[in-house]
C-alpha cells in the first residue's frame, strides 16, 4: 500500500467514493430515461428536440401541482398524490407534445433544420409559460415514502434506490414494446423507411405524433421520479437537456443500446466528478468531448455506424 503515497492526488475517503457512486447511479437512472426519450424521437423521426428539457421541467412542475392538489382535496398520504402524479404528468406532457407535433413539426414536414429552430421556439414558450403560471420559486415535493438503507458509512435514502429500480423497469418495458409488440414493429418500420411504411398502410403521421408524445412522456416520468430529490423549478430543464444530448451523441444518434451505455457512463462519472471535484469542469470536459465525438466519430463511441 506504500506505493499510494506517490499518487499525484489523495485518494478520496471510501465513504465519499461510495456516496459518489450512489449519487451517480441515481443520476444515471433518471438520465437514461430522459435520454431514451430524446433518442427515440431522433431515431424514429430524425428530429432533434431542443425542447426536450422543457418537457422534463413540465413533468416536475405538474408533479408539484398534482401532489399539492391531491393532498389538499383528500388529505391522503404523500404516496397517493405521488402515484397520481406518476400517471397524470406523463399523460398531460405527452398530450402537449403530440399537440406540438401536430401544430408545428408536421407542418414543417420534419425538415431537420427548421424543426430545430421551431423546438428552440417551443423551449422558450414552454419555459416562459411555466414562469408565468408556476412562478420563479423552486418548490419541493414530499417523497412518497421515507426509509433509510444503512451502508457501512452512512444511512442512504431508500427512495433514491427505488428510483433506480423504477427507471430500470421502465426502460425494460420500453425495450419490450419496441422489440416484441406490433406497435414497436410499426415504429421500427417507420424508422427504417418512412415512405415504404406509408405505402404499406402504416399511419406515419400518427406514429410520429405517438413517438413524440412517448419521448416527452419518458422525460416527464424521469422528472416526477427526481422531484422529491430535486425541487421543481421553471429553469430546471437546461441541465437534463445538455446531459441527454451528451448521452445520445456519445451513444450514437438513434442507437438505444448506445444511449443506455452512455447514460450509465456519463451519470456515474458526473456523480463521481461532481462529488469529488469541480462540477463546472466536468461539464466543460463533457461538452468538448461531445463536440469532438461529433467531429471525428459521428457514429458515437458505443454505437454502430448509423445511416
Amino acid at each position: 500500500m506504500d506505493i499510494l503515497q506517490y499518487l499525484p492526488f489523495d485518494l478520496p475517503h471510501p465513504a465519499l467514493l461510495l456516496a459518489g457512486v450512489l449519487e451517480g447511479t441515481v443520476l444515471a437512472a433518471v438520465l437514461a430515461l430522459t435520454a431514451l426519450g430524446l433518442s427515440l424521437v431522433f431515431g424514429i423521426m430524425r428530429v432533434v428536440n431542443v425542447a426536450h428539457g422543457e418537457f422534463y421541467m413540465l413533468g416536475a412542475v405538474l408533479a408539484w401541482f398534482v401532489t399539492t392538489w391531491v393532498a389538499s382535496v383528500t388529505g391522503g398520504p404523500p404516496w397517493l398524490g405521488f402515484a397520481v402524479a406518476l400517471v397524470v404528468a406523463p399523460v398531460v406532457v405527452g398530450a402537449i407534445a403530440a399537440a406540438a407535433d401536430w401544430l408545428v413539426l408536421k407542418r414543417l414536414d420534419y425538415d431537420p433544420e427548421a424543426t430545430i429552430v421551431a423546438t428552440i421556439g417551443l423551449l422558450y414558450i414552454i419555459q416562459q409559460l411555466a414562469l408565468t403560471f408556476y412562478g420563479p420559486d423552486a418548490r419541493p415535493v414530499v417523497a412518497p415514502f421515507d426509509f433509510r438503507v444503512q451502508t457501512p458509512y452512512f444511512g442512504y435514502s431508500g427512495y433514491k434506490l427505488v428510483v433506480v429500480g423504477a427507471a430500470i423497469v421502465l426502460m425494460l418495458a420500453v425495450w419490450l414494446v419496441l422489440t416484441r409488440t406490433r406497435i414497436g414493429l410499426v415504429m421500427r418500420a417507420t424508422q427504417y423507411d418512412r415512405e415504404t411504411a406509408q405505402a404499406f398502410g402504416i399511419p406515419v403521421d400518427t406514429v410520429y405524433a405517438g413517438v413524440f408524445a412517448l419521448g416527452a412522456g419518458l422525460a416527464a416520468i424521469g422528472a416526477v421520479l427526481i422531484v422529491p430529490i430535486q425541487q421543481a423549478h421553471y429553469l430546471m430543464g437546461g441541465d437534463p437537456l445538455l446531459l441527454s444530448f451528451i448521452v445520445v451523441i456519445l451513444g450514437g444518434l438513434g442507437s438505444l443500446k448506445g444511449t443506455l451505455v452512455a447514460a450509465v457512463f456519463i451519470g456515474l462519472s458526473d456523480g463521481l466528478i461532481s462529488t469529488l471535484y469541480e462540477p463546472t469542469l466536468a461539464k466543460i470536459l463533457a461538452t468538448l468531448l461531445v463536440a469532438m465525438v461529433l467531429v471525428f466519430r459521428p457514429q458515437g463511441l458505443f454505437g454502430a455506424r448509423a445511416a
Binding site: 408545428v104 407542418r107 430545430i116 428552440i120 414562469l131 469541480e278 461538452t287 468538448l288 467531429v295
Partner: protein, 331 residues
C-alpha cells in the same frame, strides 16, 4: 450595382440624419441596435448566404467582448488596441472552430457549434476569478477614450456604433456581390454541384465562418467598449439564438435584413416587456382571478413565439418576401 450602392448609401445617410432628432431614449437604443446589428450582419453571412445554421455564435461575440475587456481590466491596455485584440481573438476562435465544426454538416454542425459555445460559456464561469462570472465587470468611464474622443458621450458613441455598422454593412455587401458571394450562395443551394464545378466548398465555408465570427467579435468588443460592461450572460445560448431570430425576421440572405430584424425585434421586446406583458398579466388576473406574477417578465415568450411563427409562416423573412414579390434586384 449602382442601385445597390444608392440603397446602402441611403440607409446609412438616414442613420446619420436620425442622430440629432432622436430622443435620448431612442438615441441610446439605436446605438445599441447598430452594434447588435453588426453581430447579425456577420451571422447572416454564414446562415443567410452560405446556409450554415450555427447555434453557437455567442462564443464569438464573447471572444470579442472578453478578449477586449479582460485586456483593459487585467493588463490595462487602452480601449483602442484592446478592441483590435478582441476582434483578433474572435477571428482565431473562428478559424479553430471552423476547422473542426465544418467537418460536420446539417444537424451535426448545429450541435457541434452549440457544444463549443456551451463549453466557452462554462469556461467563462469557471475562470470566475478573472471574468467575475455572471456578475461581470464594468470598464470605468474614465478610460473609455480613443484618440481623445470620449466613447461614453452619447453622440460620440452613436457615431462610433454607426461607423462600425457602416463598415460591416459595406464589407458584407461587397462580399455577397462578388464572385466569392456567388459561390457561397451556390453552396447553400447545392454543395455537391459546387464541388463538381471544381470549387473547394470547405475553403469558402471556412471564409464565411471566419468572416462571420470576426463580425460577431467586433460587435462584442464594441459592446464592451461603448457600453462599458462585460458579463457571462452574453455567452449564454440565448445570445446565439438572438442573431438567428433577427436574421430570420429581417430576411436571411439580404444585406439589409439583419438591421431591419434587429430594430424590429429590439423594439418588439422593449414594447412587450414595458407594455404588453404587464398589461396581459393584469388582464389574465382580472378575467380569471389567476395571478400570473411571472408574465410581466416573460419577454422570452415573444422570442419563442416569433421563432415558431417565422419558421412556420415566413421562413424567407421580411426582406426575402419583398425581394420575391417586388424588388428582385435586392442584394
Amino acid at each position: 450595382m449602382t442601385r445597390s450602392i444608392l440603397l446602402h448609401g441611403l440607409v446609412l445617410a438616414a442613420l446619420v440624419a436620425l442622430e440629432p432628432v432622436l430622443s435620448e431614449y431612442h438615441h441610446g437604443n439605436l446605438a445599441r441596435i447598430m452594434v447588435l446589428a453588426v453581430y447579425a450582419v456577420g451571422y447572416n453571412m454564414l446562415f443567410g448566404y452560405t446556409g450554415l445554421l450555427s447555434l453557437g455564435h455567442a462564443m464569438f461575440f464573447a471572444a470579442g467582448m472578453y478578449g477586449c475587456a479582460l485586456l483593459v481590466r487585467l493588463a490595462e491596455w487602452g480601449v483602442g488596441p484592446a478592441f483590435a485584440a478582441g476582434v483578433v481573438c474572435a477571428l482565431a476562435a473562428g478559424v479553430v472552430v471552423g476547422f473542426l465544426a465544418l467537418r460536420t454538416i446539417g444537424v451535426g454542425f448545429m450541435i457541434v457549434t452549440l457544444m463549443f459555445a456551451e463549453a466557452a460559456h462554462l469556461g467563462i464561469l469557471y475562470y470566475n476569478d478573472y471574468t467575475r462570472g455572471d456578475e461581470g465587470f464594468t470598464i470605468p468611464q474614465a478610460i473609455r477614450t480613443v484618440a481623445g474622443l470620449d466613447l461614453s458621450d452619447t453622440t460620440t458613441r452613436y457615431f462610433a456604433a454607426l461607423a462600425l455598422f457602416a463598415a460591416a454593412l459595406i464589407a458584407s455587401a461587397a462580399v455577397v456581390q462578388s464572385r466569392t458571394g456567388r459561390v457561397l450562395v451556390a453552396i447553400r443551394e447545392n454543395e455537391d454541384r459546387v464541388r463538381m464545378l471544381g470549387f473547394d466548398p470547405f475553403r469558402y465555408k471556412l471564409f464565411a465562418l471566419v468572416f462571420s465570427a470576426t463580425m460577431a467579435g467586433a460587435a462584442g468588443a464594441a459592446y464592451a467598449v461603448l457600453f462599458g460592461y462585460a458579463g457571462a450572460s452574453f455567452a449564454e445560448v440565448q445570445y446565439s439564438i438572438l442573431p438567428l431570430l433577427w436574421v430570420l425576421l429581417g430576411g436571411p440572405g439580404t444585406t439589409l435584413g439583419p438591421l431591419l430584424g434587429t430594430v424590429l425585434m429590439f423594439y418588439l421586446i422593449d414594447y412587450a416587456s414595458g407594455t404588453i406583458m404587464p398589461g396581459l398579466a393584469a388582464l389574465v388576473e382580472a378575467q380569471t382571478g389567476i395571478a400570473a406574477p411571472g408574465l410581466a417578465s416573460a419577454w422570452l415568450l415573444m422570442v419563442g413565439l416569433a421563432l415558431v411563427l417565422l419558421v412556420l409562416f415566413a421562413p424567407r423573412g421580411l426582406l426575402g418576401v419583398v425581394r420575391a414579390r417586388m424588388v428582385p434586384w435586392l442584394p
